[in-house]
């Protein structure tokens, strides 16, 4: 269940997405802080996020949050529900399927205006 198996990879991804989200959070607080300086500064800066490469990164960020959240729910279930360990594999499958089920359609709607407008 753990070493070299699904649990380990989910755990590694949980850490990586966590670090990535925290890093973006610092950037995001900094850019939002500019709103206090007025419209010119804020609107000038936001051109950065409008670039197509950034829109793809934005989708990856949404993926990181979704994965971290869904896997977090799985971890909480493992911690508090005695029978969860018996359903470990099912829970992993549900986590992965639920993640793609939300992330892929979200990507379609997020990237459609960027590439097919």
């Amino acid at each position: 269940m753990y070493r070299g198996q699904s649990g380990m990879w989910l755990w590694i991804l949980h850490r990586l997405t966590g670090v990535g989200i925290l890093g973006f959070l610092f950037l995001h607080i900094a850019d939002t802080y500019l709103v206090g300086f007025g419209a010119t500064y804020y609107n000038e800066l936001l051109f950065l996020y409008k670039n197509p490469p950034f829109r793809v990164l934005e989708w990856l960020l949404v993926g990181a949050v979704l994965y971290h959240g869904f896997n977090g729910v799985r971890v909480i279930l493992m911690d508090f529900w005695d029978k969860a360990v018996d359903h470990h594999k099912t829970l992993v499958q549900i986590t992965v399927v639920a993640f793609f089920l939300v992330w892929l359609p979200a990507g379609f709607f997020m990237l459609k205006p960027v590439f097919f407008s």
Binding site: V19, L46, D79, M110
Partner: protein, 152 residues
């Protein structure tokens, strides 16, 4: 195909953790026994569940229903005209940053073994983290929209 054998499920890879309480009960990772780490353990889970609500609503509204093409100064000004959204954003800021900083603290404890560097890294993390919480809280709480007379 690796089948996950029932008998190995309750054996924790870390010999110290293996003796910690609760591992065998639920199969989850052992809960920490010291006061602060136990608080941190619960805090991750409680803030995590709250963030599931706050962060996903935030992503839905700001990245799916709206996007960076329509988010402008005016958009923020309209949104923060409501104290409800200011409260929402403040809660999201504090929860996300404290959850994230606690995570970074755990990573530092896991990967930085030298005592000096560890103290340095954790101090730097707390300093930057508290600064960013204050900066974010300041802009959310004190923002006053400019009169947009020349805005197109």
């Amino acid at each position: 195909m690796s089948t996950e054998i029932k008998t190995t499920q309750h054996i924790h890879p870390d010999p110290v953790a293996r003796t910690t309480r609760r591992w065998t009960r639920s199969g989850g990772r052992p809960r920490p026994s010291s006061n602060f780490e136990l608080f941190s353990w619960y805090f991750f889970r409680i803030s995590g569940i709250l963030l599931l609500f706050f962060a996903l609503i935030h992503l839905l509204i700001m990245h799916l229903l709206n996007n960076v093409d329509v988010i402008t100064y005016q958009f923020i000004a309209d949104r923060w005209a409501s104290p409800l959204w200011r409260t929402f954003d403040l809660l999201l800021l504090v929860l996300a940053l404290t959850h994230g900083l606690n995570g970074a603290r755990v990573l530092i404890y896991d990967y930085v073994h030298s005592r000096g560097w560890r103290t340095f890294a954790v101090s730097a993390l707390y300093t930057v983290g508290i600064l960013f919480i204050l900066l974010g809280a300041q802009v959310i709480l004190t923002f006053q929209p400019q009169i947009q007379s020349v805005a197109k």
